[in-house]
């Protein structure tokens, strides 16, 4: 075992430790049932904001960068029949979720509020049926559909009929809020 080999091994170990130190949030499996706190939801139906300048809440949901929780959200999206109204993001009874139009806002806390509280035009309120963690998982998945979450955490195709380009192939999105003529038109 030559000294250069030892040096090289030491070097490798250093690199390993350095990379490992950057813990990979993306791969964390949140298996406990601890509840992420619900946000103080701030929903804007219009961009106009009287008074002091509108300061947005966080632009990232707790699970936006977590592939596992996004996948859990994907499963919930089917199980809770979200796909019945929103199809696989293209919409049906409910509006499309994979486009860049967000009637009630595309920020994680806004989507959280839409799911938890429901929306007047037919979106049911889920807060009595799902816990906060599950809703946050749905938020992460819904945002992944339109390319709002980091690409590496977005789901690939499902083992089903190929109906949408997989979220991991969707380009990153720049969302617009409330760009429809009238929110009341769209449930």
């Amino acid at each position: 075992m030559g000294p250069s080999l030892e040096r090289n091994i030491a070097r490798t170990l250093l690199i390993t430790v350095a990379i490992a130190a950057v813990a990979c949030e993306r791969e964390q499996r949140n298996l406990g049932q601890s509840q992420s706190a619900a946000p103080s939801a701030f929903v804007a139906d219009v961009d106009l904001q009287p008074g002091p300048t509108f300061i947005s809440d966080t632009s990232e949901g707790p699970f936006d960068d977590n592939a596992y929780n996004t996948a859990e959200g994907q499963a919930l999206f089917e199980e809770m029949n979200c796909s019945g109204c929103h199809a696989h993001g293209g919409g049906a009874m409910g509006p499309a979720l994979m486009d860049d139009q967000w009637i009630y806002g595309s920020l994680p806390n806004q989507i959280f509020a839409s799911i938890a509280q429901g929306r007047p035009n037919g979106m049911p309120a889920w807060k009595y049926r799902l816990n906060n963690k599950q809703i946050w998982e749905l938020v992460a998945y819904v945002r992944s559909l339109s390319g709002l979450t980091p690409k590496g955490a977005r789901p690939a195709r499902e083992d089903h009929m190929m109906v949408i380009p997989a979220p991991n192939q969707t380009p990153n999105a720049k969302p617009k809020n409330s760009s429809l003529p009238s929110a009341s038109m769209f449930p």
Binding site: R157, M162, P165, A166
Partner: protein, 202 residues
């Protein structure tokens, strides 16, 4: 340790040899077996998933187009002539001949890589549409990587022949290059028949 007793002098043996006498020929053969076998396995997978479909290509999936792949195959087959001549010139230690035929060969094979892009789109299906699309894309795409490597090899060798005084060993390389090219084209002919022509017949 026993004392050494020379029994033979090998100084007179050649140091550049052709064909199966040369190491590089064996190495090339080894990788041809690996790549050919990989293609065979993909073919096996292609026929395996085919069992899951009532029609092939599946209903609602168009047949692949023939024009571009056929042109590409013709081009590759045409390049056999300069390839054979380059190999022969190599064996005859004809440096100018090798250079000439490698150049002709390069001119013929470089377009095949470009056409390969259109070969893929001539499949008329996306790789993620269904398992059929996946299988044909992988066959054509995997061969594309072999093609790219081989064409790069040919062009590189040609450039060396133009830019550098090539050592005697490169004559052997030129003939091995032709051998690998025949193999690559033979694989393509198989893929062409099975992927592009096959569904029209069966």
């Amino acid at each position: 340790m026993k004392a050494l007793r020379p029994v033979s002098d090998v100084g007179g043996l050649p140091s550049v040899v052709f064909g199966q006498r040369s190491l590089m020929w064996w190495g090339t053969l080894g990788f041809m077996v690996i790549e050919g076998w990989t293609t065979a396995l993909i073919f096996a997978s292609y026929f395996y998933v085919r069992q899951n479909f009532e029609a092939w290509p599946p209903l609602q999936t168009p047949l692949p187009s023939l024009t571009i792949p056929t042109i590409n195959l013709a081009l590759m087959l045409a390049s056999f002539i300069p390839a054979a001549l380059a190999a022969r010139a190599g064996k005859a230690l004809d440096r100018a001949g090798v250079r000439r035929w490698l150049t002709v060969m390069s001119v013929l094979v470089v377009p095949t890589v470009v056409l390969r892009w259109w070969d893929l789109w001539a499949l008329n299906v996306r790789w993620d549409t269904n398992a059929y699309g996946t299988a044909v894309w992988l066959l054509v795409g995997f061969h594309a990587s072999l093609l790219l490597f081989d064409v790069g090899d040919t062009v590189g060798l040609t450039l060396f022949y133009w830019l550098k005084p090539m050592p005697a060993k490169s004559f052997s390389d030129a003939s091995d290059n032709s051998m690998y090219w025949y193999f690559t084209v033979a694989l393509w002919a198989a893929i062409y028949l099975i992927v592009y022509v096959g569904p029209r017949i069966f």
